[in-house]
């Protein structure tokens, strides 16, 4: 399915959801109302975050030179590329949904696929705010074990995945 068709389908589904919520409010269907409220509050959270994230990504696109990205994140960057991946993942905000557009930008600027997948995977592993919460509620042993197991495995998987896809001329789209 083309992305355009998919977007229309998604809009239709969201509209169906909207009609259901509106109907629930009119008829007093409690779970539907609850869903509507949850939807509104998460939408508000996203509305606070997404414009900033997309503006920062676009500024990155406009200002950062392709050569710079290639040097630090590209095929020849070696271990340094993955270190940058860890740093970038640690600094990322929101959830995975912010990591995807960042990945797309990195791809267009010539970053290696393996580094991009490492970044995306690690965005789910070592975002700093999240890790801080984990540390304080679950204790240092929990956090150290999780990071110690997940980070190497994610990087190994990303290297394999990136190599295979690079050979096949894979592209990240929008």
């Amino acid at each position: 399915m083309k992305n355009r068709t998919r977007r229309i389908l998604q809009l239709v589904l969201v509209a169906v959801f909207g009609v259901f919520i509106a109907g629930s409010f009119v008829s007093g269907f409690a779970p539907g109302r609850e869903m509507g409220r949850t939807f509104a509050s998460t939408l508000l959270e996203m509305a606070k975050l997404l414009p900033c994230a997309f503006i920062l990504i676009a500024l990155f696109d406009v200002w950062v030179k392709r050569e710079t990205v290639e040097r630090h994140f590209g095929e020849g960057s070696g271990v340094r590329g993955y270190l940058w991946g860890v740093v970038l993942a640690g600094m990322s905000v929101g959830g995975m949904y912010v990591a995807f557009p960042v990945a797309y930008s990195l791809f267009r600027k010539g970053a290696a696929l393996s580094v991009i997948f490492a970044y995306v995977g690690l965005a789910g592993v070592c975002r700093i705010p999240m890790t801080m919460f984990e540390l304080s509620f679950m204790g240092p042993v929990f956090t150290v074990v999780r990071l110690g197991v997940s980070i190497p495995l994610v990087i190994i998987f990303s290297v394999v995945m990136g190599r295979v896809l690079q050979r096949r001329g894979y592209r990240i789209t929008e």
Partner: protein, 161 residues
């Protein structure tokens, strides 16, 4: 959150001083890209709202504190995969469950999959990475999350080889 606004504002200001036309181009780019993914975001939030409403926190708490064997890991991984929950909710919840003697292994399976595996973000991810890569990536992340949970169980002495 505030720091994000400060950083974005500072970056925009610096960009404006350097070149107004490039800044305008960047803002246009940001708006177009955001508009392109909005339908997927809307769908994701609708699914999330449905998931949260249909599985209330008490249910999650009961399930996570209940079964400690392989089945518990499987259920915890499933819940973590299909939910989106910010860290500031998930970890206090898990911390409270630890106090109630829920196994670390089960909680690890839950929080790891919560962070690494995204069923609800799949429609969005597919748009960027394509179906196959999105599926493989999430599948492998699920495995990694479970491996990390099992190691956690070993470290905390909840299971032994």
């Amino acid at each position: 959150m505030l720091i994000l606004y400060v950083v974005t504002g500072a970056a925009l200001a610096a960009s404006l001083i350097a070149s107004a036309s490039r800044t305008l181009a960047a803002l246009k780019l940001a708006a177009v890209r955001l508009a392109r993914v909005l339908p997927a975001f809307g769908l994701m939030l609708a699914l999330l709202a449905a998931a949260i409403t249909l599985t209330p926190q008490e249910t999650i708490q009961r399930v996570l504190g209940h079964d400690s064997g392989p089945l518990g890991v499987a259920i915890a991984s499933l819940i973590g995969s299909v939910t989106l929950m910010p860290g500031f909710i998930a970890f206090p919840l898990s911390g409270a469950l630890v106090e109630k003697a829920a196994p670390y292994m089960i909680l690890a399976a839950f929080t790891n999959t919560l962070m690494m595996v995204g069923v609800l973000t799949y429609p969005l991810e597919r748009q960027y990475f394509g179906r196959n890569v999105a599926l493989i990536r999430n599948g492998v992340c699920l495995l990694i999350a479970i491996v990390a949970a099992i190691v956690m169980g070993l470290v905390f002495g909840e299971i032994s080889l």
